[in-house]
Subunit: 192 residues, 2 copies
Amino acid sequence: MPWEKQFDKQAALDKALQAFWTRGYEATSMQELVDCTGVNRGSLYATYGDKRALFISALHMYDDARRRMLSEFEARYPPRDAIRRVFLSFMTGLTEDGSNRGCFITNTALELAAHDAEIRDIVATAQQDVEDFFKRMVKCGKAAGNIADHVKPADAARGLLASLLGFVVLVRSRPEPALLQGVLSDALRRLD
Amino acid sequence: MPWEKQFDKQAALDKALQAFWTRGYEATSMQELVDCTGVNRGSLYATYGDKRALFISALHMYDDARRRMLSEFEARYPPRDAIRRVFLSFMTGLTEDGSNRGCFITNTALELAAHDAEIRDIVATAQQDVEDFFKRMVKCGKAAGNIADHVKPADAARGLLASLLGFVVLVRSRPEPALLQGVLSDALRRLD
DNA sequence: ATTTGTCTTGAACAATCGTTCTAGACTCTC
DNA sequence: GAGAGTCTAGAACGATTGTTCAAGACAAAT
């Protein structure tokens, strides 16, 4: 029974995730992944498979974190605040180190979803999941009384999803705080 | 004064645009561009410069078409309808040949804008231009009486821009007509 | 008809791509 | 300590990347 793996699989995968998130799939070479993970070429292939498989693993890791985030927001905050915090969560990466990476899933949606069925499924499921989250929050907010009665949860949820996707596009391409704040305010105005 | 160019520069550039639009910058090789334009490697370089310069030329060509489209909508249609038609214009490529390419500028926003200042400027200007278009349309619609009085043009325009960007993300990643129609209806509900 | 100068052509460039393979290093079991 | 088996290390694979170059093809000017 010889020898465990010498590197932290999760930590290495997270490093790879950061690289893919920052530069995208095509623009990130295996050499860069070897460098940034600190894991040798052979070990990378032995552990995760080829580049595409490594990317999908990273995408799943990101998606799991997203799922946990939504659960936490749903449990901790009143519905309207939970919705607002989802938007804000994509702005935090903005000030951390100056790099504007936006949402990894949305970046992937535009780069790969159109040509890769498996990736499209992951992206679509994540988007649907966010939409469902919004729908639950709107319903819940209406019950609590701080979201207007005339708002239809299903319609508002779809609209909020689109606003969120547009928001993360702007985070990556035009990260001006005033613009992002304006978009967020207008998106939430839907609930009044 | 010897010899004009033997191929149609505009036609070749349009072919290149289609390729970049479909697959993105990194995933489109010079070999593919040679094949799909029908123009020889050397001529491609002599005419447009390197790959990045060719891409930027294609981006400008697309951006000019977008600008003409907005002008036409602004001249021909009542404001609310003009706004709606901007959204719909990104759905047409959907049914034409089944390929869902979305918006070339938005695809580029996520792939390259974060790491290339010149491209970021083109993208940002285009986004600003659409926002300004929306603002004019909202103002105009309020004056005409078919957009509600309480709507603030600047805020609504930013919100519409985000909704549009989200819309085109969905066109490329989850092109279900019902979903897109729902997003569009909800975006326009802002104006009631 | 020769010259002139741009255009086209396709081979060729070095560099990098994703991937594989062969040694050697190491930890465990017997 | 010998053997077994998985891990690491880095060279090496052929293919493809973006780009350049030298030679030939062509239309206009002399």
